[in-house]
Amino acid sequence: MEESETRLIARGLRLRDPELMDALIERYQHRLFRFLLFLTRNRAWAEDLFQETWLRVVERGSQYDARWRFQSWLLAIARNLAIDQARRRQPLSLEDSASAAEGESGISLLDRLPSSDPDPFQQAAGRDEQGRLADVLGHLPTHYREVLTMRFHEELQLDEIAHVTGAPLSTVKSRLRRGLELVRERLQRRGHESGQV
């Protein structure tokens, strides 16, 4: 996205332009929903957060910084709302407070919340092999799942992922490497078990 486009978006957001909002929803609907589904593993919560995220975009539009792509700002809002929701559903324990103080920002809280039944990834992908492979992703810890989806689905640059997650670039790199390695290991294990992959 060019800087002139992000400036236009920033201007429209400041004015709370309804046409721009429609266009943004049209353009980013699937990406946002997929990200939320990956993060929460729960279709109902993802749907709630989808609406809440767009309302927050309207409300905080003047805070959008045109130096960043709109998409990364959108995902940052969605991520923060998901963490807030996880906190509401499961208040922080002392251990969580300590990890939050160390900069973990509460994303791991999402790991402890149950996924919807049936699993949204399998439901989305169907009952075939792709569905079973998608299930591998659904069972990754959230901090790996979120960087993987931001990089490979949403095509965010590494510095954008660092901006969204608030983590240092080196942490983003190591989470991506480790996350990929986990997916590979699990796919290979499933392949050995089923003799298919």
Partner: protein
């Protein structure tokens, strides 16, 4: 080959998949993959992992999008109205402050003259002036609180 070479190769494979592999390391990786079948298998599995991540089809429900659009439009309209009200209030406050600052010496003279005429003690005169200056601000604050209360009640009723 030592374990260190394979571990490095795994890291480079991941970097290649992520898109951060340096050019000078690409040759090392390719050479290693050509010589090591285990790492070549791991590289294929990693490519498959990336394909899997990219291929999970997730689509958002059209009704949800429509409902979101409606909510967003309504909310944006309400916020725009609030923005306009707030702007008008800021302008009013600025004008009131300017008029107040300009009229202060004259007002003080009139109050002093009136106080002398009616033989009021000075403390009453100053208290009267303070009340006079606070009244507009208090009126605005009460109006804002009343409006907010009304909006909250309306919101609660809509929820019910």
């Amino acid at each position: 080959m030592s374990e260190g070479i394979h571990n490095r190769a795994r890291r480079l494979m991941a970097d290649r998949a992520i898109g951060i592999l340096k050019e000078d390391e690409r040759g090392d990786l390719e050479t290693h993959l050509a010589e090591c079948p285990d790492c070549a298998d791991a590289a294929s599995a990693l490519d498959l992992a990336v394909q899997v991540i990219r291929s999970v089809p997730v689509r958002v429900d059209a009704e949800l999008v429509q409902a979101t659009r409606r909510s967003v439009r309504l909310y944006a309209e309400r916020l725009r109205e609030n923005d306009a009200r707030m702007k008008m209030m800021m302008v009013s406050c600025a004008l009131a402050a300017a008029v107040g600052a300009l009229s202060l010496p004259y007002f003080f003279r009139v109050a002093t003259w009136l106080g002398g005429l009616l033989s009021f003690p000075q403390v009453v005169l100053y208290a009267g002036m303070a009340v006079f200056w606070l009244v507009p601000g208090l009126a605005v604050a009460i109006a804002i609180l009343a409006r907010r209360l009304q909006a909250d009640l309306k919101g609660n009723i809509e929820v019910l």
